[in-house]
Symmetry: C2
Subunit: 407 residues, 2 copies
């Protein structure tokens, strides 16, 4: 076996054994993600032995497949397109990122094996499932960005396909600002918020990561063909699904756990009451990542999900990009400055001085005694307050009577 040639990953100095790549390519097609039993089996016996034993079928005796692994793989175990898949990937300049590769984002994905719930998405309600832990077996990728550069500086920007103009604007504008600040935007590839997020970041020269719910060779949605090429040229297009896999609905939900895991936090720009974006947010929360929602008009159905999420204690409302940066920064770093607040000439005035000033009418003069009465301030103190106001240019005296200074 050691005579097999090794294939260097394009951007990786440490080549992964080709036999391992072939085994993982086969395994990533042989079970529908998330395939928890198979993942655990691969961890236990290694990808090459796992692939061999899955190909051989359930068998009996010491080499028998665990029943759950047999169940997950029975329908497709006869389908081995690993060579063709890797060739297709290579032809498109892509690479298969596997746990044996230093680029594998092991820490980022580790949480998935711990908190996974129904259909592999962690922390969600639903019937108990046999799927359990759900780290991907391999990731098919195209693009120069390295996966192990995330997730600390990566932020997911997700939301509704049927986004409003407002949602599209926020996705585009904030993603551009995030990219300007050196934050890599991660999203799906859907119409609506996903597309706007990629476009905003790309427009200012940022890299983005698109996580697909189908094979790397599929262009879905078709309208995003050019956009996905841009992402692949500068950032990264990545998926756990083998070439040719179609974008079935449940795959979007399963895929969302990868988006959440690859980022330090997820920003939900717009979400209807029941949506995949809400789900990604809940996954992010279960993984201990920041969960952020963009507020919007309470009259907008597309903000309904955001406002429902905002009521959960683990969810933060982000009103500007500063807030996003604050949420995903290590504690104490990146604290958002307060928004630019208007200053007033009366800022910091003693409350007594404020009262004296307000006791002065706009267009009339007052004696000190009258001012003391109207302001309810002790006569002995009015003089002090008037001097403070005078020093700030707020009042002026003429012949023993005080008036407001114009302007």
């Amino acid at each position: 076996m050691s005579t097999l040639p090794t294939t260097p990953n394009p951007v990786d100095a440490v080549p992964v054994d080709r036999e391992v790549l072939l085994a993982r390519a086969y395994l990533s097609r042989v079970a529908e993600p998330p395939a928890a039993a198979l993942a655990a089996f691969v961890d236990e016996v290694g990808p090459v032995a796992a692939a061999r034993r899955v190909r051989a079928g359930i068998g009996d005796g010491p080499g028998a497949l665990p029943p759950e692994v047999a169940r997950e793989t029975s329908a497709r175990r006869g389908t081995d397109r690993a060579e063709a898949d890797l060739a297709l990937l290579a032809a498109r300049g892509g690479r298969l990122i596997v746990p044996e590769d230093p680029e594998w984002p092991a820490v980022a994905l580790a949480g998935l094996g711990v908190v996974a719930g129904p259909d592999g998405a962690p922390g969600l309600e639903g019937p108990a499932t046999r799927d359990g832990p759900a780290a991907p077996l391999a990731l098919w990728a195209r693009g120069p960005l390295r996966l192990d550069e995330g997730p600390a500086g990566w932020v997911a920007v997700v939301g509704a396909r049927a986004a409003s103009e407002y949602g599209l604007w926020v996705a585009r504008d904030w993603s551009a600002e995030l990219a300007d600040r050196g934050v890599t935007v991660v999203s799906g590839a859907a119409l609506g918020v996903d597309g706007a997020a990629h476009r905003g970041a790309l427009a200012v020269g940022g890299d983005t990561v698109a996580v697909l719910a189908c094979g790397i060779d599929r262009v879905y949605p078709p309208k995003h063909a050019t956009l996905l090429e841009h992402v692949a040229q500068r950032g990264l297009v990545v998926t756990e699904y083998p070439p040719g896999a179609t974008p079935a609905r449940h795959r979007f939900l399963v895929r969302n756990r990868i988006i959440a895991a690859l980022t330090a936090g997820t920003v939900v720009v717009e979400a209807a009451a029941r949506s995949g974006a809400m789900r990604t947010a809940l996954v992010a929360g279960a993984l201990g990542r920041a969960v952020m929602v963009v507020p919007g008009p309470v009259t907008s159905l597309m903000s309904l999900g955001c406002h429902e999420l905002a009521r959960r204690p683990e969810v933060s409302v982000v009103g500007r990009v500063d807030h996003v940066v604050e949420e995903v920064s290590p504690v104490g770093d990146g604290l958002a400055a307060p928004p630019g607040t208007p200053t007033r000439p009366t800022d910091g005035l003693d409350p007594g001085a404020m009262r004296v000033r307000e006791a002065l009418p706009l267009h009339a003069a007052r004696t000190v005694v009258r001012l003391a009465h109207d302001a309810g301030v002790d006569l002995a103190e009015v003089d002090t307050h008037l001097r403070e106001l005078e020093a700030r240019g707020l009042v002026v005296e003429h012949g023993g009577r005080w008036r407001r200074r114009p302007g």
Copy 2:
């Protein structure tokens, strides 16, 4: 002294001694609220003795005024219009509500004496103040609603004077819905959100409470003359300021603590980055009342303050009136139902059955073996899943091949 006649408050069976009313009417004018030292002094010696000693001035010996009380009252102690003020109030059908009256909302206002900070507003940053505790000395009121009916069922709806159309809409619509649910809306009387809140509640036959920052005889802003009459006819117009007091700016801030104290929670509809509404919200939080903000577009300056507030742990985002009711209800009561969510024929489907259904193309039939492969589901289980889908009317079989059921 006991020979003085007593004046029954119009809606109150227990008459308050007229001497007490005159004393409190005098005291409410003699110091600018919040007058913490005077309030403490009144609590200690009673209103009648306090009024007599303030009138007499600082003096010396055992009857001497505490220096802080002397300071608070020195400028106005010679002004006694109590008889005229009460006559004016009576002529307008009003009443002076005092702590000696069962209508006095003692529990609601108690917190003000404990947590007051600078300028009497509790929990706010600013220079240390000599004002300290700041419960009002008396409340001048007009209208049939009784103050002691709050604050459990009362909610403050406050916000910017320069509200946007969106803010005005929310204030009006939500206040109407609150009134419909039997919640009394409390607000100021300003243009913008305050006015819209009153109008919304009044429009559906609700009572509202307007807390003024000026005398009960002043009409401010002038545009709200008719509106304030409506409030006084059905609800309550109330103020701690004596007749004739002008609406100076600092009085709005001081007044806000009364709004917060009289309600179970405060809803900030719109607020610029620096605003009185934000302040009312912070006061409400310091008093342990619910603090709620209405989200809005992040592009709107008038929602900026709401979104900043939303980042504080004690502040809740309310996306609909259900949320408001939930926040101000005793724990466990009034929980908001989830928003109406669309139901789908696939709700509650086993994940495996979902996969099988999604493996069926829209317009083609499939054999069971092909379905098992495409869905990645064990052949033995596909049949079970297909029966579940068939029972729901989602799939149909013909000649050993399955297809989606149209519609």
